[in-house]
């Protein structure tokens, strides 16, 4: 890591990064609608939500009036309407992934249960939004829209029911035991369906007026599974069930409902057609769910990021004030002013928490922005397919094979810069299918990557943050509610698909050639940044990325002693760790890009003029810290996978303890691997100096007198 050399600028961090800094880094400096959403969500989070937590509202499992105040606050402050399109009464035109990500981030800054409560309403609407008929969209969006001035109407609330009581469906499995049958079908009339669904862990169920439920067909007159809308007033049983005894996210409502209702067939989400006396849902449950989860999982990922970053200020305040009021340090002495921040370990660990929080937020927001882009291009793609009469997943996949070469060519041209064939580049840039393929290949990686890494590693780092607060950390009144946040992160790692589901998805999508082509270009980009002496650890990352790619390629052809290829979907021991390694690398890459964005765009904001160099230096050091950690994690995983499946040479026993240097195993390309490993180690030069600088900045940064929640 030769970049972090002695001519490093010495400006230090002045204050904690505020909105001006974040708007640039997370690329919404020109989106006033989003900036307003941030402010209005923040006022609910740090006002009402914080008071609820402080008043002990998390200590009950039941949904109650006190918690229901949140819904009113969401409605009044525009949070509920963020999901809606302007034609349905919303105020944000176009894609809303970034907007919803910011809402989740702000609410989770205080309490992730509040975020879950807000997001679950959107999750209920999402199947309708993504795949519903125009009429379904209009009906449910307008019912869920908060009452407008002068209107006397209670907005509807929804729940999304996929998960079923054990041993049935979780987010992953295709086996659904909720059933739909034809109850009554009169000639020329809308069929009436009998829906039986038992849910488990269904959010918002304590108060939902409608449920979007996953059911399978149990009738030969219904062709496939589907998602269907069930309403509270439908004939039959609408039993909310008992409240889940959650240890986390208690500001949201979770129940195990029992639903047995008769509904008209036009409640099938996305509609249906009838052929030869059989109802054919236009979308199976799998198609709807895929469209929904790939978006909402990004928001969940950002909930964990918010918590890590929210921990910084309370920990600094605790550390600095640790010895104040005692006999041993008068004001003005280091013991009084710095408290625990005199101890290197305390500030180094806080630096690690901060660096992880930055990387996780950068990865999450990059994913959210990417989905905004994908929404647009996907809509255009769907239009084309509709015009061409291409229907169904299989036909679409076949049609998307054609532009594959164009997509690869586009990626190469994209990163060629000035030297490229501009005409061809523009041509491919306008090709919707090419654009769709490129964006989709990346979205398919970023979504599971941020869901997996932000929440899983986030939970580990939240524990670290809690431990920095000592005993206070695990009390209910720990400032910043850090103990609760730690526990809550485990739910974020679980719901909407536990970590294994994300790893499985990644192990497929990260081998897509379109993704890998972009990844190769990123390695070059990192090398270039390292050559430009950007002091962000780009050289370290470039080598680590190269090592990962080499390992993936090696494992894709290398065989174990039984002749089986090592990189195989069922071989979780190979695919899953490699997926984990990739997440580390991706997160720090986006962290670097955000830091560079701040450096490039910051000077245009006069508010930042003075403080900008300090921010850039500090964030650069955090990047270098994170790059070293990520490279270490990736290197360790790659080495274990590359060597770990080799049996020891004859005569060396059953373990490697007796192995002498040089007498180990051999495999194709070993020199390259060893060379990359060595380079990776060497690239760590300076990483600890960056950490020292960042930690020093943490001891000097000015923080507010008091935390702004609860006030």
């Amino acid at each position: 890591m030769s970049q972090t050399n002695s001519d490093h600028n010495t400006a230090v961090l002045s204050t904690l990064p505020g909105d001006d800094v974040r708007q640039i880094m997370w690329r919404f400096a020109d989106r006033y609608d989003l900036q307003m959403v941030v402010q209005s969500t923040r006022s609910v989070a740090r006002g009402l939500v914080a008071k609820l937590v402080a008043d002990g509202a998390r200590n009950s499992h039941e949904w109650n009036e006190q918690k229901a105040e949140m819904l009113k606050a969401f409605d009044e402050s525009g949070v509920t309407a963020v999901f809606m399109d302007p034609e349905d009464g919303g105020f944000i035109a176009g894609p809303k992934n970034m907007a919803l990500a910011l809402v989740a981030f702000e609410l989770s800054w205080v309490d992730a249960g509040a975020a879950t409560c807000s997001l679950a309403g959107n999750l209920a609407l999402a199947p309708i939004h993504e795949k519903g008929t125009d009429e379904q969209k209009h009906t449910y969006m307008s019912r869920c829209l908060p009452a407008q001035p002068g209107e006397n109407r209670k907005p509807w609330r929804g729940a999304f029911a996929l998960t079923e009581p054990l041993p049935y469906v979780g987010v992953d499995t295709g086996v659904v035991s909720g059933k739909v049958r034809v109850a009554e079908w009169k000639e020329g009339k809308e069929p009436v369906l009998q829906v039986d669904k038992r849910g488990r862990f269904i959010t918002n169920m304590g108060f939902a007026n409608f449920v979007t439920a996953v059911v399978d067909t149990a009738d030969e007159r219904i062709k496939s599974s589907c998602m269907i809308i069930l309403e509270e007033g439908d004939p039959g049983i609408y039993d909310r069930g008992s409240a889940t005894l959650k240890l986390v996210h208690q500001l949201s409502s979770t129940c195990d409902p029992i639903l047995s209702l008769k509904v008209p067939a036009n409640r099938i989400i996305g509609g249906y057609t009838i052929k030869d006396g059989v109802i054919i849902p236009n979308f199976s449950h799998g198609e709807v769910i895929e469209a929904v989860f790939r978006r909402t999982r990004v928001t969940v990922a950002l909930m964990s990021s918010a918590k890590l970053l929210s921990a910084i200020e309370p920990v600094i305040r605790y550390q600095r004030g640790r010895f104040r009021g005692g006999d041993s340090g008068a004001p003005g002495t280091p013991r009084y002013d710095l408290g625990l921040q005199q101890k290197e370990d305390a500030v180094h660990r806080l630096t690690d928490v901060w660096a992880s929080g930055e990387a996780s937020a950068s990865l999450g927001f990059a994913a959210a922005r990417l989905f905004d882009a994908l929404d647009e291009v996907e809509k255009r793609k769907n239009q084309i397919f509709e015009e061409q009469g291409i229907k169904g997943a299989r036909a679409q996949m076949k049609a998307l094979k054609v532009p594959q070469q164009g997509a690869l060519e586009y990626i190469k041209l994209l990163y060629q810069g000035g030297k490229r064939d501009q005409k061809r580049f523009e041509e491919l840039g306008k090709d919707t299918l090419v654009q769709f393929l490129v964006t989709d290949s990346l979205a398919n990686v970023l979504c599971p990557a941020c869901k997996l890494w932000n929440t899983g590693h986030g939970a580990d780092m939240m524990r670290e943050a809690v431990s920095l607060m000592g005993g206070y950390g695990i009390t209910e009144d720990c400032p910043g509610f850090l103990g609760q946040k730690w526990m809550d992160t485990q739910l974020e790692a679980t719901y909407e698909g536990p970590e294994a589901v994300q790893r499985r998805q990644l192990s497929v999508t990260m081998t897509n050639e379109l993704f890998l082509e972009q990844y190769r270009e990123w390695i070059k980009e990192m090398r270039q940044l390292a050559a430009e002496n950007t002091c962000i650890g780009a050289g370290t990352l470039a080598v680590a990325m190269e090592l990962w790619l080499w390992t993936l390629e090696h494992l894709s052809t290398a065989k174990d002693e039984n002749g089986k290829v090592l990189y195989h979907g069922q071989r979780h021991g190979v695919c899953f760790p490699l997926a984990d390694a990739l997440c580390w690398l991706l997160a720090v890459r986006y962290q670097m890009l955000d830091t560079l964005e701040l450096k490039a765009k910051g000077p245009a904001n006069p508010v930042l003029t003075e403080a900008l160099p300090g921010f850039v230096n500090f964030f650069s050091d955090l990047c270098a810290v994170q790059a070293a950690r990520a490279a270490g994690e990736a290197g360790k995983i790659c080495a274990e996978l590359v060597y770990g499946y080799h049996r020891l040479p004859e005569g060396s026993g059953t373990c490697a303890c007796s192995l002498k240097a040089g007498s180990g195993v051999s495999f194709d390309g070993k020199e390259t691997f060893v060379h990359l490993r060595n380079r990776l180690d060497e690239c760590l030069a300076g990483a600890r100096l960056a950490k020292d600088r960042a930690a020093n900045a943490v001891t000097q940064v000015m923080i507010p007198e008091a935390l702004d929640y609860p006030v």
Binding site: S40, S43, V607, L608, A611
Partner: protein, 269 residues
């Protein structure tokens, strides 16, 4: 009173009260450490004035609200992301320092001249609102000086309530010493009202209102005129924060009634 009021609210930003405020010697006199980076809020008393203005505009048909702000425009833009969501208004920006160390006379002059330039402002219907003091400067004289420059003699200070009669005349409750109110009647606009807290809660943020306001806010920020406000010729001998004082007495085995009695006696002086 059919045509309503033209209500101009004077208000700008102050550092968020939870921030660490550390006076330092800047190149142009005293300043606050990292002042530009401190998150800001709308000056609290001026904020009450804005909420009251919005409420009045809603009840008196034909009324319109302007918010005239003197402050660094890039910081004002950030503040608008919250304030624009509170109530409909048109923004007028004067680009200059909002520091607590500027001279109130210069601030008042800049604000008054910006008000004079508002196109279509009907002086006969004009109510100039603002805070009775600023959380940063706390001079409590700015609004009076704005009124003087605009030639408005009817001025009310520390206002908590304004009740408009159908004729356009109004009654005002002003805070005076001893926890009392002074009740006045005024024949009508123009008048200056420097608000204390008023009676209205802070409106919740409403991004829909904000988006509507933004259509005018961005052009207003772009065409903001610079104003020279500072404290030229003024020397600050010393600047310090109020000292934290802790006078705690621990009492044991005393009935709460007695503790309450003692506190009441202490409050009464």
């Amino acid at each position: 009173m059919s045509s309503g009021f033209h209500i101009v609210v004077c208000g700008s930003l102050v550092p968020d009260p939870l921030q660490t405020l550390e006076p330092i010697a800047g190149p142009a006199g005293p300043a606050l450490k990292n002042e530009m980076m401190l998150p800001s809020v709308l000056d609290p008393w001026a904020a009450h004035a804005l909420y009251e203005a919005a409420h009045l505009a809603k009840t008196a048909a034909g009324s319109k609200v302007w918010l005239v702000s003197l402050g660094p425009k890039a910081k004002l833009q950030q503040l608008m992301m919250t304030i624009a969501q509170k109530a409909p208004f048109e923004l007028v920006v004067v680009d200059g320092s909002a520091s607590g160390f500027t001279d109130p006379f210069e601030a008042a002059a800049a604000l008054a001249s910006a008000i004079e330039k508002i196109p279509g402002l009907d002086r006969s219907r004009l109510l100039v609102f603002g805070g009775c003091a600023s959380a940063s400067r706390d001079a409590s004289v700015t609004m009076q000086m704005i009124g003087e420059q605009l030639g408005i003699a009817d001025q009310f200070l520390g206002v908590d309530e304004l009740t408009v009669q159908p004729s356009g005349a109004f009654k005002v409750l002003e805070r005076i010493e001893g926890g009392q109110y002074q009740a006045s009647e005024c024949a009508g606009a123009p008048a200056v009202l420097a608000w204390a807290t008023g009676n209205l809660p802070e409106p919740p943020n409403n991004p829909q209102v904000g988006m509507a306001n933004m259509r005018g806010i961005m052009p207003a920020l772009q065409k903001a005129q610079p104003a020279k406000v500072g404290a030229e010729g003024v020397t600050f001998a010393k600047v310090e924060l109020p000292q934290q004082k802790r006078e705690t007495r621990i009492v044991k085995d005393v009935p709460v009634e007695e503790i309450a009695k003692e506190i009441i006696t202490w409050i009464k002086g």
